[in-house]
């Protein structure tokens, strides 16, 4: 792993993305044990302070410390997006692999099912889902996660279909291995690169989507802060407290940018075509 990291860090995109992602993750991790101020403790008296020494990023309309909120919000954004990706990978990859391995009617049915989900405008459906089950982090995760499933299913199926006719799979079949076993031993490890890259992209998208849902009031609920909700609250205060809108927005942009760079870097680093060139 460390050897891989050493090579990978030579890639500029990867290095930048890696550093940004680490910072965000670290911030989220630290927020569990320490934040400069308690984010659930309102201090109306010191509301709407501009960024300064006491409050690095200023305070919001309830007098909460925005830096602390960004830290806790990072935790929330990461958790929602990550679990949504895990849902996507956890259901999508087995489905895609299964469809590719079995082929025929099952494949067709699964892929058509995918099409149905794809036909729903994701954001609108997320709004509907959260409307059905009520707003909240868990439901946001489900709403975002569901739309990750077909993405990963398609990717996995495509990758698996291109791997099945390869000679080494033939060799494994000639060794009498079952399709399930071949999928686990050969197919999945060989699509791992693709999956990792797609996962970072889905992760980044998840963060934007979560922010969007929270922005329209359907994401994480108070007292826990979330970036999207902070933006929503800041909207009417932009003219006298612009920091309330700019800082959470920047937090989203930087995090997503970091993840995208990480994904791009990974794609370059892991690209099998480039690997082949090396030998």
């Amino acid at each position: 792993m460390s050897a891989f990291l050493k090579t990978a860090l030579r890639n500029k995109s990867f290095a930048t993305g890696f550093v940004i992602t680490c910072v965000v993750v670290l911030m989220a991790a630290i927020s569990f044990v320490w934040t400069p101020y308690d984010v659930t403790d309102l201090d109306i008296g010191s509301k709407l302070k501009a960024p300064g020494w006491a409050h690095w990023f200023g305070t919001d309309h309830f007098g909460r410390d925005i830096f602390s909120m960004i830290m806790v919000g990072a935790r929330n954004s990461i958790a929602v997006a990550l679990v949504a990706v895990i849902i996507g990978v956890g259901f999508g990859v087995p489905l895609g692999c299964w469809a590719a391995a079995r082929g025929g009617l099952l494949d067709e049915a699964l892929m058509r099912g995918n099409d149905v989900i794809f036909a729903f405008p994701a954001l609108l459906s997320a709004v509907m889902i959260t409307a059905v089950f009520g707003p909240g982090a868990i439901n946001a995760i489900i709403a975002i996660g569901i739309f990750n499933i077909p993405v990963f299913a398609r990717l996995a199926r495509g990758a698996a279909l291109s791997l099945w006719p390869r000679d080494f799979i033939m060799a494994a079949r000639a060794a009498g291995k079952t399709k399930t076993r071949i999928t686990i031993e050969h197919i999945v490890p060989n699509m791992a690169n693709l999956l990792i890259v797609q996962a970072t992209i889905a992760f980044a998208l998840g963060i934007i989507q979560e922010a969007g849902l929270a922005y329209v009031g359907l994401g994480t609920q108070p007292p826990l802060p979330s970036w999207g909700k902070m933006l929503n609250e800041a909207q009417t205060m932009m003219s006298f407290a612009p920091h309330m809108a700019i800082i959470p927005g920047l937090a989203i942009v930087i995090t997503v940018l970091g993840l995208n760079l990480l994904g791009d870097g990974l794609r370059d680093v892991l690209d099998p075509r480039l690997t082949r060139k090396r030998d």
């Binding site: 309830f62 707003p135 609920q221 108070p222």
Partner: protein, 498 residues
């Protein structure tokens, strides 16, 4: 792709050649008004729906009642020129105005009054405020311009009740169509309605009374506080009777283009409590909550300073108001002790369901943070009105909620059986019964004061603040109401100065 473009072209063409009825509005600025509203009415019949937005569009503008409520909450003559009240207080004889015409040209007479009142109180009526008419025993047409209303028992507030939007007079022929095409007797006629966006009223040239200065009034519906601010700043709306973003008031006040008027409303904003649900069935728990709530912090944090603290369910501007704010001073130690006495030394967990308005959502966050200090952990559950009404209001499936009770003079709800507070006090009910039978003002006020004290002693709900009305309008506009004693945007006296 090509097909889509064709579709678009067709769509654009059809809208472009549609009769340009509304063009020129911007240029005739002095006789038109664009009024911002937070909520859009679902329909326009005030006698068939509760949403305040209906009244806010049509009350006094399109529809009129026997009486009308003035800007200070006074009862004024409406379609009834005058009235007599019998000695026993049970018979009201209304003398109607003559020469009044509906917008469709038909004449108004006593039969319409009888029809309207009978319709409202009939079985199966969809009137949202049937209680207003419950006391009516019979309605009799004496002649074309005289109506006699017989009450079951004396009702001190009957004339005020007849001034509600739910009691406006409609014509039998058009009553059923009023939802989409309201036909009333008011100074404005219904013009057009682009659902989700704007609704236009136009001047009624055949109005019986003083003609209005405005040729046209447009209501523009903007639910999002941020969009409301943008629209105000951009000049897309001229006025907001009740601006939804109190945090922006200082900014708007500093802007010479705007007139910002903070008035009062009938909205008592309270932390409604489910009085039968443990642990809230214990008065000590409710009192502990009362001691833990810092009203000023809520007003500052949620309403940015707009609002008056209240200690009971009564509007502070009402002459009968009793200031009970000091009864439960902020006292965390005392609150904790009360909780301990009630058997919750370590506090407890409960839910707080919050409807969409920002006073509720923001206020809820602050309340949750305040109650956390005495060990009460509240889980915040935001709900849409569409969920709040059946879940909280109807099924009473809640612990705590925050809502503003905007009906005028509504302390009587505490006497209702099966109201969502689940409050049940014989002493209070007796007081209200007596109040309803009393007509003398001094006696009525004394009873009202007593009622206020009872619910405060019982700490039925967390009484927080009287909702302020943050009117924001173009500085050149005159005649908009400062306060809202009833839910209305009465535009009859509005004009532009120059």
């Amino acid at each position: 792709m090509r097909t889509l473009k064709k579709l678009l072209a067709v769509a654009l063409m059809t809208t472009a050649i549609a009769p340009a009825t509304m063009v020129g509005a911007a240029f005739a600025a002095k006789t038109s008004l664009i009024m911002g509203m937070v909520l859009e009415p679902p329909h326009l019949d005030p006698t068939a729906g509760a949403p305040a937005a209906i009244d806010e569009v049509v009350y006094a503008n399109v529809f009129e009642g026997l009486t009308r409520i003035g800007s200070k909450g006074e009862v004024l003559p409406g379609l009834a020129e005058s009235w007599d009240i019998s000695e026993d207080g049970k018979t009201y004889t209304f003398k109607l105005r003559t020469g009044v015409k509906y917008h469709d040209g038909s004449a108004f007479d006593a039969e319409d009054v009888k029809f309207s009142l009978d319709r409202a109180r009939a079985e199966g009526s969809t009137n949202a405020q049937k209680a207003l008419f419950a006391g009516i025993d019979s309605v009799t047409v004496k002649d074309a311009s005289t109506v006699e209303v017989q009450l079951k028992s004396p009702a001190g507030n009957f004339l005020f009740n007849m001034g509600w939007g739910d009691a406006v007079i409609v014509a039998p022929e058009t009553a059923d169509g009023n939802k989409a095409n309201p036909v009333g007797t008011g100074p404005f006629k219904f013009g057009s309605w682009v659902k989700g966006a704007t609704l236009n009223l136009v001047k009624n040239d055949d109005y019986w009374g003083t003609p209005v200065a405005l040729e046209k009034a447009t209501f523009r519906f903007i639910s999002d506080p941020a969009a409301a601010l943008s629209a105000m700043l951009a000049g897309d709306v001229d006025a907001f009777a009740n601006f939804p973003a109190p945090e922006t008031i200082p900014q708007l006040r500093a802007d010479p283009r705007f007139n910002v008027v903070i008035g009062s409303t009938e909205g008592e904003t309270i932390l409604s409590t489910n009085n039968t649900k443990p642990p809230f069935n214990d008065v000590r728990v409710r009192q502990a909550i009362a001691h833990a709530i810092d009203r000023q912090a809520i007003i500052d944090g949620a309403m940015f300073g707009l609002g008056t603290p209240i200690g009971t369910h009564f509007a502070p501007h009402h002459p009968a108001y009793v200031d009970l704010v000091g009864q439960y001073p902020l006292d965390l130690e005392g609150a904790k002790k009360l909780l301990a006495d009630a058997g919750y030394p370590n506090g407890f967990k409960a839910t707080l369901k919050l409807p969409p308005p920002s006073y509720a959502r923001r206020g809820g966050e602050i309340v949750a943070s305040q109650l956390r200090k005495i060990g009460i952990e509240l889980e915040i559950i935001p709900v849409e009105w569409g969920v709040w009404v059946p879940e909280v209001f109807k099924a009473k499936d809640y612990d705590l909620t925050i809502v503003s009770h905007t009906e005028p003079m509504d302390i009587g709800i505490y006497a209702r059986d099966d109201y969502y507070f689940n409050y049940n006090s014989d002493a209070f009910k007796a007081t209200i019964t007596k109040l309803n039978e009393t007509t003398g003002e001094a006696d009525r006020y004394a009873l009202m004061a007593e009622a206020q004290k009872i619910i405060t002693n019982d700490a039925v709900n967390g009484f927080m603040f009287q909702l302020a009305k943050a009117g924001v309008w173009n500085a050149k506009i005159n005649g908009l109401w400062e306060n809202s004693p009833v839910q209305a945007n009465d535009l009859t006296g509005v004009s532009w100065s120059d």
